[in-house]
């Protein structure tokens, strides 16, 4: 349950979620040197549980970026919803240093990336994104914005 906060850096888990709560893209990103602890399952569970709150926060604001919607132990969940709330973007992180504006632009850029990808007529919406280009671009975005 608890992470070894030894060493410097943070863990991030980015997930795009389709309409039936199915993940369509997952990305684990860490600024830590060693990836000793595997958070993936825990991250998935926390992200899944946060969806309830995402749906609740949707109605409280007009903006697509919902800020921190949930937290569990040392993990924070930031959320962003696509137009018509069809696709949800969640970012799980244990970082205390993240800048809200940086996160916002991270989500906006990721959303743009997703939109471009979704324009592909061969891509069926709400299914898993399997694209090395998308993967690479998402990695770059994470590198750019996440400390």
């Amino acid at each position: 349950m608890t992470t070894a906060s030894s060493g410097f850096g943070f863990n991030y888990y980015i997930v795009l979620i389709g309409k039936s709560d199915n993940p369509i893209y997952e990305l684990e990103y860490s600024t830590k040197g060693d990836k000793s602890v595997d958070h993936k399952y825990l991250s998935q569970f926390i992200a899944h549980a946060a969806l309830d709150l995402v749906e609740e926060y949707l109605f409280t604001t007009n903006s697509m970026y919902l800020k921190v919607v949930d937290k569990f132990n040392e993990f924070f969940v930031n959320a962003f919803v696509g137009a018509q709330s069809s696709v949800k973007f969640l970012l799980l992180h244990d970082s205390s240093r993240v800048d809200e504006s940086a996160l916002k632009s991270f989500f906006t850029d990721l959303y743009e990336l997703y939109c471009k990808f979704a324009l592909n007529p061969l891509y069926e919406h709400h299914t898993v994104i399997k694209s090395t280009v998308f993967d690479k671009k998402a990695q770059n975005l994470a590198k750019k914005y996440l400390p």
Binding site: N22, P23, K40, Y41, Q44, F45, H48, A49, D52, E56
Partner: protein
């Protein structure tokens, strides 16, 4: 304080706490069964509200709320009673029974006294309800007793309690009643005792003596005499209610007196009320400082607020709370400030929403309760309601319900307006503040937890779900030392709260969290069973169903949720079930995991899970395809591994032609179709509904062929193995419904990731009628599977019907034909070939043109089930005309009929005569010119019986017109002859050449081949009765060798 009450609500602040406790004696007769106690508790707990008339009799009423605790209330919690009055245990109801024995009574009473002693610091009043159960042998005097005391069997002996001295008006109304009651109870006892002749005391002690003793010794005792050995609760319902009401009113008056006691205001020093943990911190405090005095006053104010709230005066309480908040804030007394804030919230809420969560106040109607009494009860219950309705709508200063708040007092109204929280949002803010203040004290974490729960429940009730979720979230992170069981309970309650606000995913998360807590590595003895039972309900929140068919459906609809999570959950379930030693359940989950999530697994995972399943099954036996029912009633649906192996084709095979049943043609066709029309579009004989059904739904497909009883029938399958391991499929057989069907299981081994492989499933119908083929059964990876066609994953794609329906006809005889005299031919039939022919054997016959041969055909009845062959008919199938057939081949029909019926395993012979029919004419000239024409002429124009004498007659022209095709060769030849006779010598020279050619090319005169099929239709036994027969065919290849050939002749002129 470490016993949080997770079920607390905001309303509980307004409730008097009463403990209901079972008191048992040492003897078995003096022990109340848990069932009876629970029933009694429920009856008592139903009474959660009570209206009490104001003492001044002005028609004002107080609504008192009650909270009951069953059996136990921790003293630790009771100690917090000064901090929050609703935590104080004010009343006690002890329930016990005794057997008419006064010593027993004494023992129980002593026990009761110790309980009272335990809570003496807070208890206002208490009652001991005792059931006096008399032994069955004393029935006669008992009846007399109960008759005497009929009307009021429950005899009361209420007396003032230790604390009642403080209440001036306590028990006044009851005094007279209770006195008379006392008399009665004593009477009753003395009688009981006198009846017990063997009792040593009975003779010694006089009535008056006993009277005194009981009065002294047993105050607060209510004794219910039971006529039967059994405690019939329904008999006492009204009395019980009355007594409980009595206790409550007594409690109320004590409370009211305390509330009205303003003596503390006159004191120089107000005592400092303290929470239990604060006593240690008291040392070294400056008792005279202004802050300290403020603290004392603020806390006392807050306490008065609590009392007012309990006494049903929320507006008064609100003012008290408001004042105390002001004072405590300035004194920086955060803990008590938080408590006061909580009080303010509750008071405001009860003013804002006076009707929230109000429940019935009368006892429940019970079927055994006489209607008249019930009506009376109802009226009683309604009466307070009527007067309460006046105050239903919110009137700010609710003057009617409070004596101490005179109507129209502007100062009070102003104060009320100042402190009253006007909306739920404000209440939410205050609760948040209260939680923040509580959080400053480590010892108050339970209070904070309860406060969070209360706030969350309240906000849920008012549909402020986001706010509620904040409080629930807060309650997760409050940490204090708790046992694992307590932690699990807390998490379960959190999950419950989340599902109350519709956050099912959150709820599922905490349910799983609780489950993992039960087996976390810190626990000495992991409780796997508890873990499993907690884990199972969480699946729903993760959109994970354990029904493989439902799961497949969701996948098709792209509505399957988070498969990664499903995988993890299922693995957890598998492990947990294994640790619980429930291998069957573990196997079920594992097979579900493998089957339903197959497409989401990596090849490695597939291999691992398949191997795991195999080893699990070898350890604990095979899994059966039945739904498993857990101890708590949850049913885990069966999982049939229809994907291993995956069936891609399922074809029901017809029987082989020889054994295929054929419908006999009805001789009396008229009776079948009663319609006068040859064709009518209206088919009355066929039920239209059945047709429509078969058209619309692909659920059942009726096959257009039939199987026969006792015959080996087959279904052909094609299977794939998509598992990365070698798959052993054993006991693969058909699954059928309807008539009896014997299956012959097959086993096969499929190499990894390969296919398709053909599989034949065979079986024998053991009865006649409709047979439904539902699917097939397999044993794969140690799991038995019933794979129904409709449940196959690719059923829709493959257009499998749900059921194949096939008709099975009764037993039919089987016949064998043999011709031993003739050579068997191996050659395949070409010209007359067709699938429907049941060729038993084929023979060759060669004979010269004009020759006749006779051979015997042996017919043997080879029926397995002792069927007689009752009818047999032979027909010919050739390409010839009927007449030609007759000339070629014939047999004696009589012999056959004489030998019928033919018993099993017996045979008879009949003779078939074959004639080598030929026209003997051969024309050489055309041989080279049109050799291609020869053959068709041969085959088509052979076997006509010929009377060549006719053809040489001069009348041949006339006849030739009537010749059929068969005679054309001859006709041409004759016409050639005629031409030749008139021709020049050049033709003659030609003929000489051709004569030489005859000799050289004699071998070119080809033998004629004729194929004849003898069709034999036969039937017998029950199959005949059902109107079916079988066919069998004998192929005879007749080779007609040329014998005499007439190549040329001349017509000589008659000699003159």
């Amino acid at each position: 304080m470490s016993f949080p009450d997770y079920e607390q609500r905001t309303d509980d602040h307004k409730s008097l706490l009463i403990l209901v406790k079972a008191i048992n004696g040492s003897k078995s007769s003096a022990q109340l069964s848990a069932k009876v106690f629970n029933k009694l508790y429920e009856k008592i707990a139903n009474l959660d509200e009570l209206c009490i008339e104001d003492a001044q009799g002005m028609g004002c009423q107080r609504l008192i709320r009650l909270r009951f605790k069953r059996n136990e209330y921790e003293n630790e919690n009771n100690d917090w009673g000064d901090f929050q009055c609703h935590r104080k245990l004010l009343g006690l109801i002890a329930i016990g029974k005794y057997n008419g024995d006064i010593r027993e009574l004494q023992e129980i009473y002593n026990h009761y006294q110790t309980v009272v002693e335990k809570y003496s610091s807070t208890l206002y009043d208490s009652r001991c309800i005792l059931f006096n159960i008399k032994p069955a042998s004393d029935e006669q005097p008992q009846n007399a007793c109960s008759l005497e005391t009929n009307g009021d069997t429950a005899v009361k002996s209420s007396a003032s309690t230790n604390s009642s001295s403080a209440s001036p008006c306590f028990n006044q109304s009851n005094d007279v009643d209770s006195q008379s009651g006392d008399e009665r109870v004593t009477n009753n006892y003395s009688r009981t005792l006198c009846n017990e002749k063997d009792h040593p005391l009975a003779n010694d002690i006089t009535n008056s003596c006993l009277e005194n003793k009981l009065q002294k010794n047993l105050p607060q005792c209510l004794i219910y005499n039971c006529v039967n050995n059994d405690i019939d609760i329904n008999l006492f319902v009204d009395k019980l209610e009355k007594d409980v009401r009595d206790l409550i009113s007594s409690l109320f008056w004590v409370l009211e007196s305390k509330r009205l006691d303003r003596s503390y205001e006159k004191q120089d020093k107000i005592p400092l009320l303290m929470a239990p943990f604060e006593t240690k911190a008291l040392v070294g405090l400056d008792m005279d400082s202004k802050v300290f005095r403020k603290k004392c006053l603020g806390r006392m104010r807050k306490y008065m607020g609590d009392l007012s709230l309990l006494a049903g005066l929320p507006s008064e309480a609100l003012i008290n709370y408001g004042n105390s908040i002001d004072i405590l804030r300035s004194a920086n007394d955060w803990l008590w400030l938080a408590s006061a804030l909580e009080g303010q919230c509750v008071a405001s809420l009860s003013l804002l929403f006076p009707q929230t969560s109000r429940r019935k106040s009368s006892l429940q109607r019970n079927s055994s309760l006489p209607p008249s009494k019930f009506r009376q009860l109802q009226e009683e219950a309604q009466n307070p309601n009527k007067s309460r309705n006046v105050g239903r709508k919110f009137i700010l200063p609710n003057a009617r319900s409070s004596r101490s708040l005179p109507n129209g007092d502007p100062i009070v109204a102003k104060a009320l307006g100042k402190f009253l929280l006007s909306s739920v949002n404000e209440v939410y803010e205050k609760y948040k503040e209260a939680c923040c203040h509580y959080a400053k004290y480590r010892n108050a974490s339970v209070i904070e937890l309860e406060c969070s729960f209360k706030a969350a429940r309240m906000l849920t009730f008012h549909e402020k779900y986001l706010y509620a979720s904040e409080f629930i979230q807060n309650s997760v992170f409050i940490c204090f030392n708790q046992s694992h069981d307590e932690q699990i309970k807390r998490l379960s309650v959190i999950a419950e709260l989340y599902s109350d606000i519709g956050y099912h995913r959150k709820a599922a998360f905490y349910k799983r969290f609780a489950a993992l807590k039960a087996v976390s590595i810190n626990v000495n003895q992991p409780n796997w069973e508890q873990c499993y039972n907690l884990l199972l309900p969480s699946l729903e929140g993760y959109q994970l169903t354990l029904d493989p068919i439902e799961y497949d459906r969701r996948i098709k609809e792209h509505n399957f949720g988070w498969t990664g999570i499903h995988l993890q959950l299922l693995q957890e379930l598998v492990t947990t079930a294994k640790r619980m030693n429930c291998e069957q359940i573990s196997m079920r989950h594992l097979s579900f995991l493998l089957h339903s999530l197959f497409e989401f697994l990596t090849p490695n995972q597939r291999r691992d899970f398949a191997k795991q399943l195999e080893t699990l099954s070898t350890n604990c036996g095979e899994g059966a395809p039945v739904p498993l029912t857990l101890e708590n009633g949850i049913i885990i649906p069966s999982v049939n591994l229809t994907k291993f192996p995956l069936v891609t084709s399922f074809k029901v095979q017809n029987l082989s032609p020889q054994t295929r049943p054929i419908k006999l043609k009805a001789k009396h066709r008229e009776s079948v179709s009663s319609s006068p029309f040859i064709f009518t579009p209206l088919q009355f004989s066929r039920p239209s509904s059945a047709r429509r059904k078969s058209l619309n739904s692909p659920t059942s497909k009726t096959l257009d062929f039939k199987w026969a009883e006792g015959e080996n029938c087959q279904v052909l399958l094609q299977v794939y193995n998509y598992l990365p391991i070698e798959l052993h499929v054993s006991h693969m057989s058909l699954m059928t419904d309807g008539i009896a069907f014997e299956t012959y299981p097959t086993s096969l081994t499929l190499p990894p990731e390969s296919g398709p492989f053909p599989v034949q499933l065979t079986g024998t119908p053991r009865a006649s009628g409709k047979l439904d083929i539902l699917g097939y059964t397999t044993h794969v990876l140690g799991v038995k599977n019933n794979c129904k066609l409709k449940d196959l994953t690719n059923a829709k794609k493959m257009k499998f019907p749900h059921i194949y329906t096939i008709e099975v006809v009764p037993h039919l005889p089987l016949l064998e034909i043999a011709c031993n005299q003739l050579l068997k031919a191996n050659h395949n039939l070409k010209s007359l070939n067709s699938d429907s022919l049941a060729i038993a054997s084929s023979v060759n016959i060669s004979l010269f043109a004009g020759e006749s041969k006779t051979f015997a055909v042996t017919v043997t009845n080879k029926s397995v089930n002792n069927e007689l062959i009752e009818i047999l008919s032979i027909s010919l199938q050739t390409k010839l005309t009927k007449e030609a057939e007759k000339a070629l081949i014939n047999w004696d029909e009589e012999v056959i009929q004489n030998n019928l019926p033919l018993p099993p395993n017996e045979s008879f012979n009949f003779e078939i005569t074959v004639h080598g029919v030929s026209d003997f004419v051969h024309k050489i000239q055309k041989r080279k010119l049109s050799s291609s024409q020869l053959r068709p002429r041969k085959s088509s124009g052979t076997s006509t019986p010929m009377q060549h004498s006719n053809y040489s007659s001069p009348l041949h022209h006339a006849k030739r017109n009537q010749q059929n095709l068969l005679g054309t060769a001859l006709a041409n030849f004759i016409s050639d002859l005629q031409n030749g006779s008139n021709s020049s010598s050049s033709t003659k020279s030609k003929q000489v050449v051709s004569e030489q050619a005859i000799v050289s090319s004699l071998d070119e005169f080809m033998a004629k081949n004729i194929e004849v099929i003898l069709n034999i239709e036969y039937s017998g036994g029950s199959g005949l009765a059902a109107g079916y027969c079988r066919k069998c065919a004998l192929v005879v290849n007749i080779e007609v060798l040329p014998s005499i050939l007439i190549t040329q002749w001349d017509v000589l002129p008659a000699e003159m």
